[in-house]
Symmetry: C2
Subunit: 402 residues, 2 copies
């Protein structure tokens, strides 16, 4: 297996730190728009080499694949670049993995009721071509989407006879401080992506169809395990809701994110002012996208690890009837402590938790445990070997009846 | 009198619309960085000509003054450009007027207790040179500062024997709607300046000295006249607090702005994220100041007039002992209705209310009613002819015992 990793940002460099401990691959070419970031990430392992790439240009992806005999393209950049990377990989005859799907577009007349272009629609539209070519696009294989989808498949196969709701619930008690120990606002994940997913109309699957709601709808306090405690969660547009119902029978699929009051207020203000916009505006002789400016003024999520404390939890709350036919309500989850990932890997917990899952998936693909063709979500594969290998990596998952 | 107007933005073009109805001047050269804005404002009167200027370059100001035989430079751009315009006017031997003073810098160790560089310090530092040269810099002659300072002088001369507090209080009930009639966020004044004055440490004069507080301190509900009603006001850094005590005896001078909850929240979020910063950041290959981006994404205050409804009030709440020695509490104020200024002048009320005062002041200087040399605030001059001429312009002021 020869991997092209596109993007040496927070998740990309955590991916390389985790992969460096495994022997299932022959080589990883780490490519970034900024070659110094790629070189820094490549320095840690003799199987790694650095390259320069323009992720917005499919031809640039194809050329790099061909130059290095790439078998698998691992996309670790913002999802705005999904389509050129996805297309560039296909043109090169490589398999493809990502951790977020092609972007949505709201319904032009009823954005908060009906779906427009859905997350992943552009990728699923060419699923036939991938299947015919015998090529695999494993989409949404981070932690959420990713591990959450694996949990959905595990719940359907081993815990439930009938599923009412597949409810992904994400929460944390992370705090970032400045040099003087004062708490500061510093998102632990890409602000660009956070704005995208939180301000888009949240999508919900119910009774065989998708619909949307206004942002931040249906607030709910969810009590997260392992000391994190209760966090206010709201509906957010997320890939799980689009992926799970395609392979797992359920009456309802939701995604709720424990944003907390402060973050919700910040996102609302950015939206009120139009600072969430990706359309370029002219500012004193130059053109910039306001959302890029917001991301640029905040601390780089990849660098906040040493000043961050707390745990993050990704998980799936499943309700329905258990294998015995009785009502069941179960939370399958994965908690990561920032102190541990910083000490063990030198990467903060949120990007680390995202990055470990595609490494596990690639290992299962490399050894033939997982195989397939087409555009497939993580729930299209057997969950057990994935969860076992994740535990073998030293990062066990948990289960709790609610 | 030959006037150079620097800046054909909201206030600048309202200034020209008001001046066009008066005959005290010979010519106005309207200069802007963007020559099309200048040409548009110049088209309305044969005494107006358009020019191009770089307000950040004193030599550019001096050259334009010399080219056109300018006697008075009227500064109508953001106060970040005050010093080059002020210096350029002096070098050209012209008198100078502005509506906001040179910028402050917070105290490096105790920003929310002590003053650092105060508003106007840079201008007052060279007051001797202006006085020796027999040149006048009339600083802070908009509405606030400006008319509020005139009120202070009027109160001291004609209403009070002893003043406890000179408390400028500014509030409005303005609402801006979009094409569908939905209320939108659209500041009625320069967002750059609003951020500057609201996020800087508010300054207060008390018992012979200035000190500062944290932003948004000492919230107070003030009941504004003529149907505006109660608005929550907070301390804001403003020139009146620096100007009034230099010429008018008082125990305390404050400025409180009726920002309202929504605006305060927005300003706090901008500050939390660092989007209030004027330091350029690198964003995908270009460099921009985040604050410039915030201003650029919002509607231009000069263009919101037709979609705005309501009134704005500028005024001064004076407490102390009246001429009869009894306790007195009086609000001197000036209310402008957006509907009227739009109908009469085609300019929205906030910029119109700012712009009318320097026109009145220039007329008093042109006919010799006001004269002086040095760096002087509006309270250095007799208030009565100013208030009479303002009334003659069709925009009377009011007085109310509280």
């Amino acid at each position: 297996m020869r991997i092209l990793l596109v993007g040496a940002g927070g998740v990309g460099s955590a991916f390389t730190a985790i992969a460096a401990r495994r022997d299932f691959f022959e080589a990883i070419v780490i490519a970034d728009y900024d070659p110094t970031r790629a070189e820094k990430a490549a320095a840690v392992d003799p199987r790694f080499t650095a390259g320069q790439i323009d992720a917005s240009d499919a031809a640039s992806v194809t050329a790099l694949c061909q130059e290095h005999g790439i078998t698998h393209v691992m996309n670790a950049v913002d999802p705005i670049f999904n389509m050129p990377i996805f297309e560039g990989a296909f043109a090169a005859g490589a398999d493809y993995l990502d951790m977020a799907m092609s972007l949505s577009k709201p319904h032009p007349e009823a954005p908060y009721e009906k779906t427009g272009v859905k997350l992943g629609d552009e990728q699923f539209a060419v699923a036939d071509q991938w299947e015919s070519a015998g090529r695999l696009a494993l989409v949404g294989i981070g932690v959420e989407p990713g591990l959450s989808d694996v949990f959905a498949r595990y719940a359907a196969d081993h815990l439930f006879s009938e599923i009412d709701e597949l409810g992904t619930r994400d929460g944390a008690n992370l705090v970032v401080t400045d040099d003087d120990g004062n708490e500061i606002f510093a998102p632990s994940f890409s602000m660009w992506t956070t704005i995208e997913e939180c301000l888009n109309p949240p999508v919900i699957w119910q009774d065989g169809a998708w619909f949307t709601t206004p942002p931040f709808s249906e607030p709910e306090v969810f009590d997260f395990p392992e000391g994190i405690g209760p966090v206010e969660c709201v509906n957010v547009e997320h890939e799980e809701v689009l992926l799970m119902p395609r392979w797992v029978d359920c009456k309802r699929a939701t995604f709720k994110y424990g944003l907390g009051d402060e973050f919700i207020n910040i996102l609302k203000v950015l939206h009120t002012l139009g600072l969430d916009s990706t359309e370029k505006v002219r500012v004193k002789g130059v053109e910039v996208s306001p959302r890029d400016v917001v991301a640029a003024v905040l601390p780089d999520p990849a660098t906040v690890g040493p000043r961050m404390k707390g745990k993050t939890c990704a998980g799936l709350w499943v309700t329905g009837k258990g294998k015995d036919g009785a009502d069941r309500s179960t939370y399958l989850y994965h908690v990561v402590d920032n102190e541990e990932t910083m000490r063990e890997y030198g990467h903060q917990c949120v990007v680390w938790q995202t990055a470990i899952n595609p490494v596990v998936a690639l290992e299962l693909l490399a050894n033939g445990t997982w195989s397939g063709a087409g555009v497939l979500g993580p729930e299209a594969f057997d969950a057990v070997p994935f969860l076992d290998l994740l535990t073998e990596y030293g990062s066990p998952w948990g289960i709790k009846e609610l």
